[in-house]
Amino acid sequence: MPENKISVNGLDLYYSEFHALKNVNIDIAPNEITAFIGPSGCGKSTLLKSLNRMNDLVEGCRITGAVTLDGVDIYKDMEITYLRKNVGMVFQKPNPFPMSIYDNIAYGPRTHGIRRKSDLDDIVEESLKKASIWNEVSDRLKRSALGLSGGQQQRLCIARALAVKPEVILMDEPTSALDPISTMKIEELCCEIKDSYTIVIVTHNMQQATRISDKTAFFLHGEIVEFDETEKLFSTPSDKRTEDYITGRFG
């Protein structure tokens, strides 16, 4: 197994004429939580989305450079459905499907060909347990997922992502729409599951990055200014711009 789960090499990304990512290089280690921080519009979400090619949905988006998952180029040598099965995503706003809790979780496995009811039952239970929401929903699996609270919906979405057994989970500001208690639950959850997954999280909240991440990358104007151990980046940043940002001088 290569040392890095994901490697980004010389990635440039354009939205039509706008140069959104400029020569980005970053290596993401397995079984760690990597946080992307930086002001709005700095490219952190854009980079996150290019790791599972969700940027393909954006019209006029072009990239050059390479992103590899376990050494395989995801833009050239990998089926997009295979990529997205292995690199799951949790969105900023909880987006459960308008169907039952059970069907939400079973959607991914069904997509990838699992049909046997007993298999699906096991996956649903296991995923909900991993996302620490089983106790809250086990008696209403057949009810609509839209009846859950925002925090529960987000944990359901995490469970849904876990159900296809990904190796990497991308989280795009997963707690920005949630209250502090739900946020805490999701942070705890991230720390619990990181032994089995590689997690990349975009966050606006620097405290969140210090609480949960192992490494942090600071973005500014489409470039990675600094990427280091979280502890080091926040205590002794080597770049003046990082220091200005984390001490609240801008952003």
């Binding site: 997205r84 099965k85 987006n95 991914g108 839209l146 849904r160 296809v164």
Partner: protein, 315 residues
């Protein structure tokens, strides 16, 4: 410019309008007046519906009472010129239901697939052509559809299926075409209004575009789509001209897909000209039945469209 100058200028400036409230009484008078005008306009539609209801029901219900509810709705013979005359509209009820059902069978699958295509698969240049075409389809007068049916579809059906070509099948085919714009329009809007986040959630799990659209986006739009289908049914059941021209218009029990049939609407318009007395009233009573169908459909429509999304809480 002195300070006094600029103050006096400000006073005469039209921007005063924004600073000083207009005199209370005039303002209230204008607002009240406007409110009354709007209310009157709204009342016109309500009055129209109520007056139509009252007159149709007042004209039709005595006839139903005289003929007998069961003999009228369930009677299988419509013989207004016989002695004694028979006024059973069951053949026409069946005729309307069959023709409408056929139109749904033709129009709904084609319409839904077109709507899905237009909302989620259609390349932009093709869309620019397709959308106006479909709008045009909606604007074609029904007499033109009828002529098209007579000149084109009837001969084809006659050649392929025998008979004279004026039959349930032909009418259903033509009506199916006529309800396409309604079904396509409403379904496309419903599919487009499904939050993009559903689609993104599905593809992020590794679903293909087709699977995400088919299993998440389309089902999420189903109440809007059903509403479109119901409006389409309403259009089909009320259609008169085109149906008369291609359905055969025989007032008898339907004898099969390729036999002629008469619908409720056709019954009214065919005989209204030379009807008198109870015959005339029986035709008005036919309209009452048609009205009943439309009321039921509209009820379904409003139940579907008023249904609140089942979201736990809205943000």
């Amino acid at each position: 410019m002195t300070t006094a100058d600029s103050i006096s200028e400000r006073k005469s400036d039209s921007s005063d309008f924004f600073h000083k409230p207009p005199s209370g009484r005039t303002q209230r008078f204008i607002e009240k007046g406007a409110e009354i005008v709007f209310l009157l306009c709204a009342l016109i539609s309500i009055a129209a519906v109520v007056i139509i209801c009252v007159y149709i029901f007042a004209g039709g219900i005595p006839a139903i009472a005289e003929i007998g509810l069961f003999d009228f709705l369930g009677g299988q013979r419509w013989k207004p010129y016989n002695e004694p005359a028979e006024y059973g509209i069951f053949p026409m009820i069946l005729g309307s239901l069959y023709v409408t059902g056929g139109a749904v069978a033709v129009g709904v699958p084609v319409g839904l697939l077109t709507a899905i295509f237009m909302a989620r698969f259609c390349p932009a240049p093709l869309y620019k052509v397709l959308k106006p075409m479909i709008n045009l389809l909606a604007g074609i007068p029904s007499i033109v559809y009828g002529l098209f049916g007579m000149i084109v579809i009837v001969p084809i059906v006659r050649n392929l299926a025998g008979g004279d070509g004026n039959c349930i099948f032909t009418a259903a085919l033509l009506l199916g075409m006529m309800i396409l714009p309604t079904i396509i329009g409403l379904s496309e809007t419903a599919i487009r209004s499904v939050p993009e986040s559903y689609y993104e959630g599905a593809v992020a799990l590794g679903a293909t575009h087709e699977r995400a659209v088919g299993t998440v986006v389309f089902p999420a739009a189903k109440s809007g789509i059903l509403a479109g289908v119901i409006l389409g049914i309403g259009r089909a059941i009320g259609e008169t001209m085109a149906v008369i021209m291609v359905a055969g218009n025989q007032a008898r029990m339907p004898k099969g897909l390729f036999a002629g049939v008469r619908t409720l609407t056709a019954n009214i318009v065919t005989e209204m000209g030379d009807a008198g007395g109870l015959h005339y009233d029986a035709l008005v009573a036919t309209a009452v039945v048609l009205f009943g169908f439309i009321l039921i459909l509209n009820l379904c429509f409003s139940v579907l469209t008023n249904k609140k999304p089942k979201e736990g809480k809205s943000k």
